[in-house]
């Protein structure tokens, strides 16, 4: 490590493509922050204990600032405070409002869920039965998204009858969709709550020849999801802007460490709103993504 360079770390809650976008944001920030060494950390498992370990080790290694997407923010408060007492701590993705973190940068999963709920209402004017698919049923982001959806569709004829979990096992994710089609012939819309759920839904419907007959609403920006949106077989997808979290977050943190605290609002919460991608804006979004990730 070059002498004198301060380390800023971005610690995520598990490995996924989603965080690749945030990493791109961090890389962009690195270009503008030559005096810092920006690190991007994936804990080897999406478990609080594992992440805690990564945080402790980062503090031990002398990180000047850490931005973390806590696995379980509600209950990690104490531990996060321990980290916050030794270094500058930002949270992202899901907040830990009661902790001593300096700021939160991210979206509100409940809002994202509400946006998806609106998509469902629009897609099913006459109502219908919906089933959702998610990786970890118990995770906060999943609960908040589901809550947002339920809140929005409450009182309408659209119904979310079940949400199936798959432990982030793709085989099971796909299988869950197959089994749902078998068990409920009258299902009229499927919702993929995690980024990989929507592509699995898309594939199963394609194989069953039901594309377009059953409405699909997704989250996040998997290429297949976007392709489906473009094709018209997926109603729309609700995306967050992790690139901005990484980019803005790192720059804010550097500023904060240098003593400039103007970028932080009083409550410490900086919401980067999500976006609904549908057939109208999908081309623009795809172009933008390509540029962000620097892909060919």
């Amino acid at each position: 490590e070059a002498a004198g360079k301060k380390t800023l770390a971005f610690v995520v809650n598990g490995a996924s493509d989603f965080w690749k976008i945030a990493e791109a944001g961090v890389k962009k920030a690195q270009g503008e922050l030559p005096n810092y060494d920006l690190q991007f950390k994936y804990p080897e498992q999406a478990a609080a204990a594992v992440q805690q370990r990564v945080l402790e080790d980062l503090v031990a290694a002398g990180a000047a600032g850490i931005m973390v997407s806590a696995v379980d923010p509600k209950n990690q408060t104490e531990e996060l405070n321990k980290i916050a007492s030794q270094t500058v701590l930002f949270t992202t993705d899901s907040d830990a409002p009661q902790s001593k973190r300096v700021a939160y940068i991210g979206s509100s999963n409940t809002d994202l869920g509400k946006a998806a709920g609106k998509l469902m209402l629009d897609a099913l004017p006459n109502g219908g039965k919906c089933v959702g698919f998610v990786g970890l049923l118990g995770a906060d982001n999943a609960r908040e998204r589901i809550e947002g959806v339920k809140e929005t569709i409450k009182g309408s004829k659209v119904e979310l009858v079940d949400v199936r979990g798959d432990e982030i096992d793709q085989t099971r994710a796909k299988r869950n969709v197959e089994d749902t089609l078998a068990a409920m012939p009258d299902v009229s819309c499927l919702v993929g709550f995690y980024s990989y759920n929507t592509p699995r839904i898309y594939e199963v419907l394609k194989e069953a020849g039901k594309l377009g007959k059953i409405k699909v609403i997704g989250f996040d920006e998997d290429p297949i999801t976007l392709g489906g949106v473009k094709e018209g077989s997926i109603v729309g997808t609700v995306v967050q802007q992790p690139f901005e979290w990484g980019y803005q977050g790192m720059k804010l943190m550097a500023k904060y460490i240098e003593g400039d605290k103007s970028g932080i609002p009083a409550n410490g919460i900086i919401i980067v709103p999500g976006k609904v991608i549908d057939k109208a804006n999908v081309d623009d979004f795809m172009a933008q993504m390509k540029q962000m990730l620097g892909k060919k």
Binding site: A15, S16, L137, T171, R175, T180, A182, P199, I224
Partner: protein
Amino acid sequence: MQKKDLSLLILIIVVGAVVAFINPRFLLVGNLSNTANQVGMFGVFSIAEAFVIITGGIELSVGSVIALLGVLFIDLIVNRGVNWMAASALIIAAGLVIGAVHGALVTKMRIQPFVVTLCGLLIYRGVARYYTEDATAGFGFGDSFPTLEWLTAGRTDVFGFPLPHTVVAIVVVAFVAWIVLHRSVFGRYLYAVGKNEEAARYSGISSDRVIVSSYIVCGGLTALAAILIAMYTRSISPAVHGSFYELYAIAAAVLGGCSLRGGEGSILGVVLGTILLQVLQNLVNLLGIPSSLNFAVMGTVILIGVLADQYLVQRRQRAATAKGRLQAGAIAGAPADRAPAE
């Protein structure tokens, strides 16, 4: 068919009947076809595992190998434009090499199979994650390999039943494995080495070669499973893809009558074990059991099945002894000067 296999079959039928009774949609062609498809994929690597278990070893890296080879396969055909046949050959070759390395470490370096394959479990997943930088490897939208897809993930209509090609794969693999294990010289050697390596050596069997071969077979079959599964999910997050699959494989093998002490087990049993596990998965979704209870249901049914089987075995033994006693009575009543039995 061995008794063990029969009781497993009965368990499957009982579970199936109960599910069909509660939700008749269980018997829909589509659902059966989906379940059969899963059995195809999981069966291939469960049979792979059985080969190693029969020689008294264990292979814990199945899941990680499936992740690593799956990632490589997709990378080869999607990003590097390698012809899919060449890519499949390469992947299978890689599986064979991995098996050979495990076998060599176990036999030549005399490291416990558990340790060798545990390190494999850790290393291969790490390599897969590093290689993709933790990104998901997958087909882009519209990427299409019609022949490959038809071969691996397609279905053919057979008298109105959409038969998944993975089922064809498992039938072929199981048939060949059955011949090899239960009919061939090599299979006999596998059991002999698993039962008593020393006695096998004294009979002129080169047990090291047999053990290495079992790992190689396992590696090759696992690679085949990796391709089938990759083509099914069409996307692989290297951090989680296939994790815990080694437990599935071992569970299927053990349910199917393999003993972790080696020297026991039948191919039919392993296939039935796989079917049971998949029917249990299907049941949870079809009966609308909360998915959090998925594993618990699986565990409970397995436990009940094993307990029932054990109970029946013990009853059968008692019956046999009772019969023996009757015979003894008859003998005791025979004239004392009967001819010696020699």
